[in-house]
């Protein structure tokens, strides 16, 4: 192992997240502390008040829906009034509230309001802790991936989430770019690559033009409400209806516990059918059978054929979206050099076949579709922290979207195009449209649409004091400056009079600096508390281990003493039980269980000392 501070790559997904690193030159996924490579991007406060993150939160997501936050990625960096938030409010079971001034959206969880970056930070912190457990040392640096269509605000919010989690986010990179990076396309010939990403909750398709070290996302499409969960739902419905038919109309969806198990079982069966042609779904004691009757079991066989029949239209929808995206970008399937499959759902044979049929070529294999994005991020993180001559790939910080202003007719005029390397500066000349016009309104926007209204308004200002003149005679110089930190400065100047006005647009996650400070302070308190608990455990373990060693040391003398008497054997048996409980508590790192046994252990020591002393007494030989 080298001495460089470890750096990680994180695929912060809508449904699942993955953390990876480069070790000994090889990119590899870091399993979480439960041994899984995927960590569900779910956070919950359980009914007993315990905070849950990842798989545990997922396993109670239905039984405790109102206190479980999933798909926070749909909301991060969004404005409260946005269409996306409005859509999400109709779908998500947990309560959403507006942030101060409607700048962002917040979520209510167990009676407390959290900013979305705080929720994402909990997932990131879990991944950081997994990485630290794997490395056995602190991990502070990370590259985090986001969808290619994320705007500045969303990227900034993701960065804030990393900061709250105690990570220095070295760079935010696009998911499709990261996937392509993991395949090492930058080292090969120039080509057009399609990244077909069918994840748990969303479907994204991206077309990339890849050169030697340039990864240009030229087109993005997708469906933000199409993913693996829709496939699961089809299986759940099929099971629910067949169960109702067999059991006098019992509707499993009315029982949260049954529905939770049904969802888990359906997802498991779907995954298994990527490798098998048939699988059993066996859920004993699933639902109460009614008064005085035993609980009912669900026992069904699901075939791959049936799964494909149940989900055919979903696969067709993916292909229709792919077709539309390619058409919009003016790319024919035959022009595509490679197709990269990303997301767990692309392991379904029917999806792979549909992709192959549409593009007329086999998709790339060799990298796990659920891990590829995190691996790419890890490669980038490694390149940034341990640069090697000849390998300074990789990705430069670029503007994710076109930046510009609104012009007459409600159109959008791009001043700095998407994928421009930052820092950068660009100036354009504009003119007045009315005679004797003395002021102009500069609306700063970002987006891909020609129509200003379809893009996101970043800020606006008015330049007045323009000299009166006929339309077209006054020239206004508009300059966009983007610093290395992504701060956009926009200025407008009357070329003749020198009259000038400007604004600075800083991408915001919706969190104010005071809020950020409070959150970071809270985090420090949490860490201190955790450290204190760990110290307490270590001290207690040390103390009790010494007592146990002393007891073990007395054991031969005690055995000898017991051979000469019929008394004391019960007490020794009890002592053995105490020792066993202490060992279990140490193994489980359970401070309170260890504390409960401390007195008993001390008594055991006294007992052993007494017995051993008796064994060495005057009558003993």
């Amino acid at each position: 192992m080298n001495d460089l501070e470890p750096a990680i790559g994180i695929d912060l997904g809508t449904t699942n997240s993955v953390v990876a690193t480069v070790r000994d030159g090889i990119p590899r996924v870091i399993p979480n502390r439960s041994g899984q490579t995927l960590t569900p991007s779910i956070v919950a406060v359980a009914k007993n008040g315990k905070k849950l993150v990842g798989a545990l939160a997922k396993r109670q997501a239905i039984t405790n829906a109102e206190n479980t936050v999933f798909a926070a990625k749909r909301l991060i960096g969004r404005r409260w009034a946005s269409k996306e938030v409005d859509d999400a409010r109709h779908v998500l079971p947990y309560p959403l509230v507006s942030g101060p001034d409607g700048n962002d959206v917040r979520v209510e969880l167990a009676g407390r309001v959290f900013a979305i970056p705080e929720i994402s930070a909990m997932v990131l912190a879990e991944l950081k802790a997994d990485a630290e457990a794997w490395f056995g040392r602190p991990v502070n640096k990370a590259v985090v991936t986001v969808p290619a269509y994320f705007n500045d605000g969303q990227r900034h919010a993701t960065k804030d989430a990393g900061r709250i989690a105690g990570l220095e986010v070295l760079r935010i990179i696009n998911e499709p770019t990261s996937a392509a990076l993991a395949y090492g396309f930058g080292k090969q010939m120039e080509r057009k690559v399609v990244v077909f990403d069918l994840g748990g909750g969303t479907f994204d398709i991206s077309i990339l033009d890849i050169g030697k070290s340039v990864y240009d996302v030229v087109a993005v499409g997708g469906d933000t409400y199409l993913g693996g969960e829709d496939f699961d739902r089809r299986v759940i419905d099929w099971l629910t209806f067949s169960f109702a038919k067999d059991n006098g109309g019992v509707d499993l969806r009315e029982d949260k516990m049954a529905l939770q198990r049904l969802k888990d079982g359906s997802e498991r069966a779907k995954i298994e059918l990527s490798g098998l042609t048939s699988t059993a779904i066996h859920l004993p004691f699933l639902v109460g059978g009614g008064e005085g009757k035993p609980a009912l079991h669900l026992d069904r066989q699901l075939t791959r054929e049936k799964l494909e029949e149940l989900t055919r239209d979903l696969v067709d929808r993916c292909i229709a979206v792919a077709e539309r995206t390619l058409k919009d970008a003016g790319v024919r399937p035959a022009q595509v050099g490679e197709v990269i499959l990303v997301g767990g759902m692309t392991r379904m044979p029917r999806v792979q076949k549909a992709v192959k049929d549409f593009f007329g070529r086999e998709p790339c294999r060799g990298v796990h579709p659920e891990e590829v994005v995190a691996l790419g991020a890890a490669i980038q993180a490694h390149a940034l922290t341990a640069p090697q001559p000849g390998l300074e790939v990789l990705l430069l910080d670029v503007t994710p979207q076109n930046l510009g202003i609104m012009v007459v007719g409600g159109y959008f005029q791009t001043i700095i195009p998407r994928n421009t390397t930052v820092p950068t500066s660009e100036t354009h000349l504009f003119t007045t449209v009315q005679d004797n016009q003395t002021s102009v309104r500069i609306a700063v926007l970002q987006g891909a649409s020609e129509r200003a209204v379809d893009n996101e308004l970043l800020g606006e200002f008015v330049l007045d004091g323009i000299r009166p003149a006929r339309r077209g005679e006054v020239e206004i110089e508009v300059t966009f400056d983007i610093s290395a930190d992504g701060i956009v400065g926009v200025s407008a100047r009357d070329v003749v009079t020198g009259q000038q006005q400007s604004i600075t647009v800083t991408a915001t996650s919706g969190l104010t600096e005071e809020e950020m400070k409070r959150i970071l302070d809270e985090r420090v308190d949490e860490l201190l508390e955790k450290k204190q608990t760990t110290q307490e455990f270590d001290l207690r373990r040390e103390r009790m281990s010494a007592t146990m060693a002393e007891i073990e040391g007395l054991r031969p003398a005690v055995s000898e003493a017991l051979e000469r008497t019929r008394f004391g054997k019960d007490a020794v048996q009890k002592a053995e039980a105490v020792l066993s409980r202490v060992r279990q508590a140490i193994e489980a790192r359970d401070t309170s269980a260890l504390g409960e046994q401390e007195e008993s252990l001390e008594r055991t020591l006294q007992l052993f000392k007494g017995l051993a002393g008796a064994g060495r007494g005057p009558g003993a030989r």
């Binding site: 545990l56 049954a258 009912l296 279990q584």
Partner: protein
């Protein structure tokens, strides 16, 4: 002892459902098998309308059937005074014919004698009290509870509370908890009941958790997965069992279950006791 537990369960269910006669028979049967059974004695005290602080000793205990109890003079024994039912009204009925050969039973006095009924000032019977303690249902539909009828409910609450305290003192926390829950259904703000609810729950949780071992340890299935369906579980136990996959510790199971901690602890302790799971 399994029969005794079953009889107690049956008795409690009958009592809680208002089938007092059936409850009485169940508890009497328990005492036939286990004369010192504290739960049966407490419930019998309750059924007999025992006053606060009354000890459950004077509950009629049947002697072995058809075995005459010899008196000091070699005569068949009459019912011993200490075994008379703790009721003051109506007075004990004379022994049935042939009473020399049979032990006393509350039924000797007729069903009505087994409970305390409130007589109206004019000497009439409180029908509501009869209805509440009888297997019979009122023949007229309920037209809302008349104010006078609420008094017995309050009175019963006091009796239940006393019995709950005694069960608690006897170490029967489950029995005590059942009564406390019954009281809180009638009077959700009953302060003493709330205190006992907390104490009972805390005690039971501690009892069940002590059977689990360290809460950070990970339980595992101790039987083959295909044998699970042959168990006798309810769907809540089925849900918890489905979460036990060798990766989740007890503390996480408490969080995952979504059930009250007491219920989760009880189910897990039962699963361990039945050898279904192991720590």
């Amino acid at each position: 002892m399994g029969e005794v537990a079953e009889l107690i369960d049956r008795g409690i269910k009958a009592y809680v459902s208002g089938r007092v006669g059936e409850a009485l028979r169940s508890f009497q049967e328990v005492l036939e098998r286990d004369p010192e059974n504290p739960r049966a004695r407490s419930y019998l005290l309750l059924i007999h309308g025992g006053a606060a602080g009354m000890v459950p000793d004077p509950i009629p205990l049947p002697a072995p059937a058809a075995v005459p109890l010899p008196g000091p003079g070699g005569e068949s024994a009459a019912p011993q005074p200490t075994l008379s039912p703790p009721v003051s009204n109506p007075p004990a009925a004379p022994s049935s014919p042939g009473g020399d050969q049979f032990a006393p039973s509350p039924w000797d006095e007729g069903p009505a004698a087994a409970a305390t009924f409130v007589l109206e000032p004019d000497g009439g019977l409180d029908l509501q009290a009869v209805a509440e303690k009888s297997d019979l249902r009122p023949l007229v539909p309920d037209g809302g509870t008349p104010p006078a009828a609420q008094a017995p409910a309050r009175k019963e609450v006091d009796v239940w509370m006393q019995a709950a305290k005694e069960l608690f003192a006897l170490g029967d926390f489950t029995g005590s908890l059942e009564l406390i829950e019954k009281i809180l259904q009638v009077d959700p703000d009953h302060g003493s009941a709330r205190d006992y609810l907390r104490q009972n729950e805390a005690t039971l949780i501690a009892m069940y958790e002590s059977k689990l071992g360290p809460l950070a340890s990970v339980p595992r299935l101790a039987i083959k997965p295909e044998e699970v369906m042959w168990l006798n579980l309810d769907h809540r136990a089925g849900f918890l069992l489905a979460q036990i996959d060798g990766t989740v510790d007890y503390e996480a199971l408490f969080a995952l279950s979504g059930l009250p901690r007491l219920d989760t602890a009880r189910i897990l302790a039962n699963l361990i006791a039945d050898g279904v799971i192991t720590s």
